[in-house]
């Protein structure tokens, strides 16, 4: 089927905002408290209670809107979205409908070196719902309990235009968006914990055709990988169905990560008429230009700009710059280390090859709290650069640093790992190796260049890795030429 169809994907991303308090009341938003301890009459939807807009949440929304080049609407309104579910205290969600906070933005992505601009339809604010805790599985549960701690937590919904063509582009878009919200400090970007959620709309149409195909909504994808896998599955599923002359049913499907497939939800249960109307308990929210400009002035350097700067100022490859700017903490870490040791390429290599082996780069906190501080990594690199230790030893030292939090010099001097660069001391070792492996030395003389590596290795072995490879090489070259 490949090539026979064009894929059309639009993504809806919900991001929990890192405000201290909820969207419409003063309750705490801290994650993980005992059930229903972070609630009040307002977020429990008790009779007579009224919402009050959290200005900080609006500010976070404006910030994000500016970062994705949206136009912030001066007049915007909240609206009620109605549907019944026990996790929703009022049985309507205060959201935005006809007059969202911001519209008409875009996000530039790059896949396999090709740049693409993905349009952003809108960004709006709303409140989160609570959580149901079923006694057993959803199908067999005899009872369910409701935890309203999350009810009323501010959410920002960002809706892309149907501009995405492949699952890789979807992944790149999500990573780009995640990097932005994390850079702005408005969301922690954690998909596994649900602070960032993504639903996808996907349809296939005959290649080059104008009319769009029937779209399917895919939910329950709680990681970037799941989004890509689910979309790949759907592209195949819909392609096969179309090949077989079947019609695509407009429906909502759930991604089942264990089975690796999407499963149809009963469509009847979710055929909602949300009956939106303007929230009468809140006057229209007027976002003055002055407010927008004040927020604009607080915008930090964004991932895309930082990536370009890293490439230009530190001569990094696009690939390295991309990975390093994927999270703000990682990029900060990189810059802090470079500031101390002045060797960007080495720092990049150490971060990408060693540091990210130990911890996930997209975990902001893990990077920020890393036992190896940027200063300590810079110290380690300095020890390599000045010849105090070899690169090989440095990897062992790094591991010890990561486990103990100690700096490189402390470990190196305690364990006597300083590189032996004294030609006199090494000369004896080299003589010994040449004597022991006289045949190999002769092979080398006879033109077998690979033999040199073996000899170097023997010297390193004899010095427990502490010999300076440069000195060993020149000593060997000198002594072999005299043979």
């Amino acid at each position: 089927m490949s090539g026979a169809y064009d894929v059309v994907i639009g993504l809806e991303v919900h991001a929990q905002l890192l405000t201290r308090t909820k969207m419409f009341c003063g309750c705490s938003t801290v994650f993980g408290a005992p059930p229903n301890t972070q609630t009040c009459p307002i977020c429990q939807g008790m009779p007579g209670t009224l919402p009050v807009i959290n200005r900080r949440a609006v500010e976070f929304g404006i910030k994000t809107s500016l970062a994705i080049d949206c136009t912030v609407n001066a007049d915007n309104r909240f609206a009620r979205k109605h549907y019944y579910y026990p996790d929703m205290p009022k049985n309507y969600q205060i959201s935005q409908y006809e007059e969202p906070l911001a519209e008409h933005g875009h996000l530039d992505i790059e896949v396999d070196g090709a740049a693409r601009r993905i349009g952003i339809e809108r960004l709006h604010l709303e409140e989160d719902v609570g959580k149901l805790i079923h006694e057993g599985s959803l199908e067999t549960a005899q009872s369910s309990r409701v935890d309203f701690n999350r009810a009323g937590v501010p959410l920002m919904e960002i809706v892309s235009k149907p501009d995405i063509r492949t699952s890789e582009e979807a992944g790149a878009y999500l990573r780009g968006l995640r990097a932005i919200v994390v850079y702005l400090g408005v969301c922690d970007g954690n998909m596994e914990e649900g602070s960032m959620r993504c639903d996808a709309n996907i349809s296939l149409k005959r290649a080059g055709a104008t009319p769009l195909g029937t779209k399917v909504e895919v939910k329950n994808m709680n990681s970037f990988r799941n989004v890509q896998h689910a979309l790949e599955y759907e592209i195949k599923r819909q392609g096969r169905a179309l090949d077989a002359g079947e019609r695509i049913v407009q429906e909502t499907r759930l991604w089942d990560p264990d089975k690796g497939q999407t499963v149809s939800m009963r469509s009847k249960e979710f055929a909602h008429d949300y009956r939106y109307f303007p929230e009468p308990d809140l006057p229209p929210l007027n976002v003055e230009a002055r407010w927008v400009e004040a927020v604009r002035a607080t915008l930090p350097e964004l991932p895309a700009a930082r990536r370009v700067r890293f490439m230009r100022a530190h001569a990094l490859t696009a690939y390295d710059a991309d990975l390093l700017t994927g999270s703000r903490a990682l990029a900060d870490y990189f810059e802090a280390a470079v500031a101390q040791c002045g060797t960007p390429k080495a720092v990049a290599n150490w971060i990408l090859n060693e540091l990210l082996r130990e911890l996930p780069g997209d975990d902001e906190r893990a990077v920020a709290d890393c036992a190896v501080s940027p200063g300590n990594l810079a110290g380690l690199i300095t020890l390599i650069e000045d010849g105090t230790i070899s690169g090989k030893i440095a990897k062992d030292v790094f591991e010890k640093m990561y486990r103990s939090g100690e700096d490189a010099r402390t470990i190196v001097s305690r364990e006597g790992l300083t590189q032996v660069a004294d030609a006199g001391a090494l000369g004896a070792v080299v003589d010994g190796v040449l004597a022991e492996h006289a045949k190999v030395a002769l092979d080398y003389k006879a033109g077998k260049r690979a033999a040199l590596g073996f000899l170097v290795g023997q010297v390193m072995k004899a010095t427990a890795g502490k010999a300076s490879p440069g000195v060993v090489n020149s000593l060997l070259a000198e002594k072999l030429s005299k043979l």
């Binding site: 008790m46 009779p47 007579g48 205290p89 049985n91 009956r275």
Partner: protein, 486 residues
Amino acid sequence: MLTDLTIHELAERFKLGDATPTQAAREYLDRIAALDPKVKAYLTVTGDAALAGAAEADARFKSGTPLGPLDGVPLGVKDVFCTRGVRTTCGSKILDGFVPPYDATVVARLVRAGAVILGKLNMDEFAMGSSTENSAYFTTRNPWDLSRVPGGSSGGSAAAVAADLAAATLGTDTGGSIRQPAAFCGNVGLKPTYGRVSRFGLVAFASSLDQVGPFAKDVLDAALMLQAIAGHDPLDSTSAAIPVPDYAAELSRGVQGLRVGIPAEYFIEGLDAEVEAAVRAAIETLKGLGAKTESVSLPHTEYGLAAYYLIAPAECSSNLARYDGVKYGLRAPGARDLIDMYSRTRGAGFGAEVKRRVMLGTYALSAGYHDAYYGKAQRVRTLIQRDFQKAFERVDVIVAPTTPTVAFKMGEKEDPLSMYLNDVFTIPVNLAGLPGLSVPAGFTKAGLPIGLQLIGKAFDEATLLRTAKAYEAATTWRERKPGLAA
């Protein structure tokens, strides 16, 4: 009897030491015990709390530090207001047993002013109705004729003031629910401008129309009550941050030179002849006091009722969605699954009128009908607002009947539409968000009270109160009391 007195008369006695708040509270509680079985104004009487509050007020008067004109004054509040620790039913079975952990802002403000709360007053379920016959508990009687309704939805609040079962009360007005029962029961009822008084803790019926206001024995009392509850509340984003004037201070300025508008659209077929005669006589009285009258036109008045019965039900269908049996109030037993629990609970918990409006509102907001019903009604609302804006370019206050008829018999209006028509003169004021006041303007030959409605500019309650005060001072209607004690 202390129960005969107005707030300001009572305050004077307290100040002079001729009476204590505890004496007043006891007299009211005794009178409630004796007469409320006939009137049925109260859903809940909070006697112990009232006496405790009165004792605190006693101490303040004794030490010469009273809080103000409401200190120690026994009041009642409509059961639509949340009261901390006190059952709040909203006249509905679905909230049976609901005890809020918070006070409505207006209740908190009254309590902070030293008022003694006697209890919670009966109402049409969720404030939907014009007679209190929609209360899920019982119907309140009109103290002037116990076979008649007190009006609604704040019927309990009006009847309590008329029968001297409270010095004054609070009600709410979404389409006339203060002014109509005030007219039926012969007291002063004031619906302030939308946004003048906080709605926090008022169980919502139609959020864009609901407004809190007082029932009082006279105009000065109404001013004192409004003074206590008016003003911005950070908990209600629709409450206005507009300064509140000293209402009592402006009362005696008179109506000399006041421009009074008379809308032809309010003197129409269906208006009872005795009511019309009383209203026209009242206009003559105002003229005699120096007011200048002129005709104004409010051409979209006739569409008010239809627009209201789309907007109010639409908002109510949303506001009442939360009563689902999950969190508080009634949960009907025997549910098979979630949907069944919702259906059984709402089926058992809501009365016929509430169900009718929830269905009407749900329909009006549905995909495909939204613009034709809800959307169009909102456009009509804008036209009605413009009618008033234009009229108020030429006049300071508009005078009209409060209701087309006086209090009707219980059970008389079985057809919902004929009940709705009772609010035809009060609804446009809510749609426009303006202040409206009903002041007693005489009695029919059968001895039933008639109300005169005054409509003002936004946030100009002061002019309404001043006009009503001048009229009240020139008439003797206030002296008549329903013959209940017999």
